[in-house]
Amino acid sequence: MPNAEWSRSEEPLRVSILAQGGYLIASIHTALDDSQLLRFRSDLLQRIGHDRARGVIIDVAALDVIDSFACHTLRSIAQVARLRGADTVIVGIKPEVALTMVQLGASLEPVHTALDLEEGLEHLASSGLSGSFLPGEDLA
């Protein structure tokens, strides 16, 4: 699979990574195949070091499928980001996508998930601890 898609992976990725007040906001615009996901991972992790980000928000609202490889990649991004000092929040999972993920047994634990970008930013702003039951616990 990665070999077959090698030529395409040289194209610019359809993911925008924006810096915003110490946070990085990565929006995935279209479905990514496995090699593109891996490229996205290395790009993002580089940017974390480069921008000295304190938090990362990955917006997956455009994805209609999040398979186990995508889950694994997203989890590993969060773990590496944590080691480099940034908390990760994944936002924008659609209801049907959430249901499918659960049915397939794909899990994002212990990465924090939030409804949308706004909620994700709020979570990071409240110095979110990933893995806590709720962002509200920190707010209260």
């Binding site: 209801p95 049907e96 993920m101 659960v102 409804l115 509200g136």
Partner: protein
């Protein structure tokens, strides 16, 4: 001469075309007997109706209805019956049978009763035909050739319409039950409650999860309290589904609190070995809402306490 041959040929053609049509009840041989049969049923309308009503009464069918009601329905069915024999079309009868079913189903009339009643009429009429044609066995045979298929078809039509109507009622009730039974309610900003009442089957559980996830999105909920006080029994499949619902909600950024686990259900879950470690459970709905308020940073204070 020519015209006679032409006429004959035309006749044959017509016979063939009518034979092919499904709506026809009789073979052309016995078509001539049809008016006679109908006339017989017309002439003996009063006695045959009465006989039928008596037989229904003897068999203790339709006991939920008064004798007057039974007799008036008997009359309608009888007339429809004769009409079917006369015209060969069951459409009118089918419409009437549906209408009748709609009226009698709420009164607890069972499918068995309906079939038995129709068969009784078939029996009553057949006996009267035996009586009338007993001296001419060949003619009786032909009359029965004409009568039997029609009578069978009528019985099937009436019973079929009854069952159809019953199924329609059941479907309608299922639909309304399904819509009624899974409300997703917002009680505070960002707090939803989902009181589940009644048995959870796979279909309903899926629909419920769909509604909850949509609700989380539209209300931007952070906490959801699922109350299962009204669920009589929780088996492995339902427990598994609850766990999945919790996980899916969490993926959408909402925490879930489960309340109302009775001690029996809690024991069952432990016995089955469902992993509930990831679930936040609180004893009752009140406790669940209080916990949710705490998580969301609400504090509910009595007005006189606040004044102090």
């Amino acid at each position: 001469m020519m015209s006679a041959v032409g006429q004959k040929g035309h006749d044959v053609e017509e016979k063939e075309s009518t034979e092919g049509a499904d709506d026809r009840i009789l073979t052309e041989d016995d078509t001539s007997l049809l008016p006679e049969l109908v006339a017989h049923l017309h002439d003996n309308r009063t006695e045959l109706r009465q006989e039928w009503a008596t037989r229904i009464d003897d068999a203790h069918l339709l006991s939920a209805m008064t004798p007057q009601e039974v007799f008036s329905e008997v009359t309608s069915v009888y007339d429809n019956y004769v009409e079917v024999l006369e015209t060969g079309s069951v459409e009118e009868l089918r419409r009437y049978a549906r209408d009748l079913s709609e009226r009698i189903i709420p009164r607890g009339v069972e499918t068995n009763d309906v079939i038995e009643i129709v068969l009784l009429l078939r029996d009553v009429l057949a006996r009267s035909l035996f009586e009338k044609y007993r001296d001419d066995f060949a003619l009786l045979n032909r009359v029965l050739n004409a009568y039997e298929p029609a009578a069978n078809r009528i019985a099937i039509t009436v019973a079929g319409s009854f069952v159809e109507e019953r199924e329609r009622v059941i479907r309608q009730q299922q639909d309304s039950l399904r819509e009624l039974s899974t409300p997703v309610l917002q009680v505070r900003e960002r707090l939803l409650i989902l009181p589940i009442i009644g048995v959870l089957d796979t279909d309903r559980a899926r629909q419920l999860t769909d509604q909850l996830l949509q609700g989380i999105r539209t209300h931007r909920a952070r906490v959801v309290v699922i109350d299962i006080t009204g669920v009589p029994d929780v088996d492995e499949a339902v427990a598994d589904h609850l766990v999945k619902t919790v996980d899916a909600s969490r993926l959408m950024g909402a925490g879930v609190i489960i309340t109302g686990l009775s001690s029996e259900i809690a024991q069952t879950l432990v016995t089955i070995g469902v992993d509930l470690s990831k679930m936040n459970t609180v004893g009752d709905l009140q406790g669940g809402i209080e916990e949710a308020e705490r998580l969301l940073g609400f504090r509910v204070v009595r007005t006189d306490d606040a004044k102090r």
